[in-house]
């Protein structure tokens, strides 16, 4: 796509993520029920939190006997990457602060990456791409929560491997764009790998984004 995308283009672009997102939603529903959560809890959480990585982080902290504070903190750190991503998306937004805040909620990894046009963002494409993922996440959670452990393990289908493959497919054109991008990507990747054993989940991704500060240098 070269020109600005429509909402419909966005939905089409996001559609391939319906199934993998639903599959991870199913595992989230199954996991929370196995921890003794009420039927409604995972469903409400997926509807109003809508972040797989953050929800799994909070759930595992609570499952290990952690406090509400530590569960929220862990999830917030996992989601901290949405701070720089939201700043990058902001110039594409129009209208008052309430509307901008609402549209900012649509930022998720896949949509953000799909809507990225070399640092400028396609607003309608991003909003559209999030819709099928939101539906997939919600429907998957409901299926997992209702069915519980009678469902097999979605990991057996390898659906979790779809996300890194997707991110890689979006990364390759970015790397071809400039030598700076290649260096910054290598630095970010190494930083994330090095920090994974040392910090709580989420921190390595946020730390990797610091590599982009190299961009303050003039070409």
């Amino acid at each position: 796509m070269s020109g600005p995308g429509t909402f419909r283009d966005g939905i089409r672009a996001g559609l391939p993520f319906f199934l993998p997102t639903a599959a991870i939603g199913i595992s989230f529903g199954v996991v929370t029920r196995s921890l003794g959560w009420d039927l409604g809890a995972p469903i409400v959480m997926s509807a109003i939190v809508y972040s797989g990585s953050a929800q799994f982080a909070a759930t595992s902290v609570l499952g290990d006997g952690g406090t509400v504070f530590s569960a929220v903190l862990a999830a917030a750190l996992v989601n901290a990457r949405f701070l720089p991503m939201g700043m990058a998306f902001a110039p594409a937004l129009e209208g008052g602060p309430v509307r901008r805040a609402a549209e900012g909620q649509a930022v998720v990894d896949a949509s953000w990456a799909l809507a990225n046009r070399g640092g400028r963002f396609d607003r309608k494409l991003l909003l559209g791409a999030t819709l099928p993922q939101y539906v997939g996440w919600f429907v998957g959670t409901v299926i997992g929560a209702v069915a519980g452990s009678s469902i097999g393990d979605p990991a057996e289908l390898g659906l979790d491997a779809m996300f890194p493959a997707f991110f890689l497919a979006l990364l390759v054109p970015e790397l071809r764009a400039s030598e700076r991008a290649l260096g910054v990507a290598a630095a970010g990747g190494l930083l994330a790998l090095a920090l994974t054993p040392l910090t709580s989940p989420g921190i390595p991704i946020v730390a990797a984004s610091l590599a982009s500060l190299y961009g303050v240098r003039r070409r």
Binding site: P16, A41, V49, A54, A58, T67, V68, A71, V72, A75, A76, N79, A80, R81, F82, L83, P84, G86, M87, A88, F89, A90, P91, L93, G95, P97, A101, V107, D109, G119, A155, E156, D160, A161, P164, A165, F166, L168, L170, L171, E174, A181, V184, A185, G188, G189, A192, T196, S200, P201, P204, I205, A208, S209, S212, L213, V216, R217, R218, R219
Partner: protein, 102 residues
């Protein structure tokens, strides 16, 4: 169960605030030139981190497991200029195949 519901409520507010910060503070404005330089490099840095952490990270350790086979399949598919759907389905199939035999 109270703890679960409290976590859900607080996290919904905190998560929305994180996502709203950039759009509320910077919405509709053109950023200074240096900031555009940083944002152009944000995608390569974040995407690389997501690729390596999603592939090799498991909680607080690094592991080479079936997901690495999926990534290898994706690299081959991308090198052959396969469509995006083939890249991601190929990665899932390779990972599932390795898990089935291991």
């Amino acid at each position: 169960m109270t703890e679960v519901w409290t976590t859900i409520g607080v996290l919904a507010v905190v998560g929305a605030a994180i996502k709203a910060t950039g759009p509320v503070l910077l919405g509709g404005r053109n950023l200074p030139r240096w900031a555009n330089g940083v944002i152009a490099l944000l995608a390569p840095a974040l995407l690389t981190a997501l690729v390596v952490v999603d592939t090799f990270g498991s909680d607080r350790s690094l592991a080479i497991d079936a997901r690495a086979a999926g990534l290898a399949a994706a690299i081959v598919a991308i090198a052959l200029r396969a469509p995006l759907l083939v890249v991601v389905v190929g990665a899932a199939a390779a990972t599932a195949a390795v898990r089935a035999v291991s």
